[in-house]
């Protein structure tokens, strides 16, 4: 909670300071007052919905674990110790040990990095592919629109997880291909959002003005349309990040992508699943819990971000 409180206090001070400047030098500080309004709106949302603040705190924790996790964990996540195998949670092993005596707490923390990388990489990839294809479709219309639309429709004709399975099976069983598969199944979502947003702005006044000043289509796309769409796309990214982690963990749960013994939440749950029926619950429980919390955090954060960027779509 301390992180959340600090952030809240910080944003409060920042908003107060900016608002004061805005009052003093009004015409010059148009931009600053816009920023102040955003921060104020963000503050209002955190106050109204403390859950978003909590989600932000969790997010910071996850990023920290991904960054420094491997250096601070008490045990080597790969070192087995058969004497201490299958021990329940204790003071020495907070989350217990698995069938090879590996410390589950260390493995769960270290796994954060791999899961986080998979999620971020796949979301970034689909942002590039889907975002650009969607913007082009919305801006140019005609054939570009039809081709992008057809590709999106074809992907949507598959149950998404099943298609991801097929793609990983066909491309080969590696982490890289899990990232590609997750990106491909999310493509229609991004392409559609970007297309709709680009389509609305195609004939907007500022775009017309830029066009009349002699800017080419590509330049218009990159300097006029793209910057205006980025906020919506960022919201989309944080909303799909949770799904990306779930998808990747699901694939590694059925034995695709990540190979043992590398620590990853999905595969750790899979390894622990056989021990669930004999009562050693901690092997699968803690990685599953970590997975759940991460997804929960990303979903809440996405909702919170959407409230800031697009207040009309609050549900």
């Amino acid at each position: 909670m301390t992180i959340v409180e600090q952030t809240e206090a910080g944003s409060e001070a920042g908003a107060g300071g900016l608002a004061a400047t805005a009052v003093v030098a009004d015409p010059a500080a148009k931009k600053a007052s816009g920023l102040a309004a955003t921060i104020q709106h963000g503050r209002y949302i955190v106050a109204e919905n403390p859950v978003t603040g909590l989600a932000f705190g969790l997010f910071v924790l996850i990023v920290l674990a991904a960054l420094v996790g491997p250096y601070v964990v008490p045990y080597d996540p790969l070192a087995s110790d058969t004497v201490a195998a299958l021990k329940p949670p204790s003071l020495h092993h907070w989350f217990g040990t698995d069938q090879l005596g590996r410390d589950i707490f260390s493995r769960v923390v270290v796994a954060t990095r791999l899961d986080f990388i998979i999620a971020v990489a796949s979301v970034a990839l689909v942002f590039l592919m889907g975002g650009l294809a969607g913007i082009a479709a919305g801006f140019f219309g005609g054939w570009t629109d039809r081709i992008v639309g057809r590709i999106a429709d074809t992907i949507m004709a598959f149950p998404l997880f099943v298609l991801a399975m097929g793609i990983v099976a066909a491309l080969g069983n590696t982490v890289q291909n899990i990232i590609i598969a997750t990106a491909i199944v999310n493509f229609p979502l991004y392409a559609r959002v970007a297309r709709a947003e680009a389509n609305v702005r195609r004939e907007a006044g500022f775009v017309q003005a830029a066009r009349l000043s002699g800017n080419g289509d590509v330049r218009l796309l990159l300097t006029q349309i793209l910057p205006n769409i980025i906020p919506i796309m960022v919201v989309q990214m944080s909303l799909t990040m949770g799904y990306a982690i779930l998808n990747a963990a699901g694939l590694s749960f059925i034995g695709l992508g990540v190979r043992p013994p590398s620590p990853e939440w999905g595969i750790m749950v899979a390894e622990g699943s056989t021990f669930m029926v004999s009562g050693e619950w901690w092997i699968a429980f803690f990685p599953g819990l970590a997975l759940m919390i991460a997804v929960f955090c990303f979903n809440l954060l996405g909702d919170g971000l959407r409230d800031i960027v697009d207040p009309q779509r609050r549900t």
């Binding site: 004709a157 149950p159 998404l160 099943v162 099976a169 491309l171 699901g250 699943s273 997804v295």
Partner: protein, 337 residues
């Protein structure tokens, strides 16, 4: 109405063509040489070449695609390397298990989610509303295989209420004579109550896992759509005319709020068919999902391809059904068509 059905059928055709093309391309993207794979590790270069000619892999891609389509039209999906059976036969024998599980799971979740969504919408800000919000947010965050394992631990290991998570039927029972392929229905037809109870006991936990998983989107959509309808003028008029709250909510509001919910079912099915694979693995359920997983691990590609194709065709068919259902519920859609 027939017009509408025909129109939707025509719309499904491009999707099906896309599905066939993608599944074909997936096979061709397979790393390594399928001919070398089929010929075995000890084969000479000559033998590999023979296999390649026999499989038609030396032909241009277009010819191979034509062959693939002709095979499909004959219902030939190739043979599974691990079971030695034709993939079509394997899938046919395993599909009822998956269908039974998915349908029971979906029914369970609709039975819980729709009333929950309605109650939440009629009492905004109340306890039920908060419960609905928690369920929908937590529901989308739960990894489906994790929920399944927790249920197994609590209801099998701790409480002992559920049987061991090992398939559709305890080994002491023999399956009922196959009529529909659904054990619940077949055992009732055969008139064996103990068999019905045993099959139901095995089914409860996996179906519950799938139900919890699909609860969130249905409840969320029901709530949102009920909220929108409840604030509309015809509901106000109905209320002002002194109709009972029950009549207003069920007969007036819910019928109109159903449309977006039915549309959401399409998306829910996409998730369910995927989640099915994971749930089948957790509960050793002998459906097509676990069949595909076994094949994936053995790098046996024909079953995986057959599985992806079957799922996609099923999904297109379900969406078609939902579109038609939409027309049945809402007469306006029929006029537009």
């Amino acid at each position: 109405m027939i017009n509408l059905v025909l129109k939707r059928l025509a719309l499904a055709i491009p999707s099906l063509i896309g599905v066939v093309i993608i599944t074909f391309l997936l096979t061709r993207a397979l790393p390594g040489d399928p001919a070398a794979y089929f010929a075995g590790p000890a084969a000479t270069a000559e033998a590999v070449q023979q296999v390649r000619v026999k499989l038609g892999l030396d032909k241009p891609l277009i010819v191979q695609f034509a062959r693939y389509v002709v095979d499909l039209a004959h219902g030939n999906l190739g043979n599974s390397l691990t079971s030695g059976q034709p993939v079509v036969a394997d899938i046919k024998s395993r599909l009822p298990a998956s269908a039974e599980l998915t349908l029971v799971g979906l029914i369970l979740s609709v039975l819980i989610a729709v009333p929950l969504g309605i109650l939440a919408a009629t009492r905004p800000g109340s306890f039920v509303d908060h419960l609905c919000r928690i369920v929908t947010t937590a529901g989308v965050s739960l990894p489906v295989f994790f929920t399944g394992l927790i249920l197994v631990y609590v209801f099998y290991y701790l409480l002992g209420w559920a049987p061991a998570p090992l398939g559709r039927l305890d080994i002491f029972f023999t399956p009922p004579p196959q009529i529909t392929g659904f054990y619940l229905i077949d055992s009732l037809i055969a008139g064996k109550m103990d068999l019905f109870r045993a099959a139901l006991a095995q089914l409860v936990l996996p179906a519950l896992t799938l139900g919890i998983f699909s609860l969130a989107p249905i409840a969320r959509m029901t709530r949102a759509s009920m909220l929108a309808v409840l604030s509309s003028e015809f509901v106000r008029t109905a209320r002002a005319s002194g109709l009972t709250p029950f009549t207003v909510i069920v007969t007036y509001a819910f019928r109109n709020a159903m449309l977006p919910v039915v549309t959401t079912l399409g998306m829910v099915f996409s998730f369910l068919l995927g989640a099915n694979v994971l749930v089948e693995k957790v509960f050793a359920w002998p459906g097509i999902g676990s069949y595909a997983v076994e094949a994936l691990i053995a790098s046996d590609f024909a079953p995986v391809q057959g599985f992806v194709l079957t799922m996609a065709v099923l999904y297109v068919a379900i969406n078609l059904l939902i579109d038609i259902l939409y027309g049945v519920i809402d007469p306006r859609m029929r006029v537009e068509a």
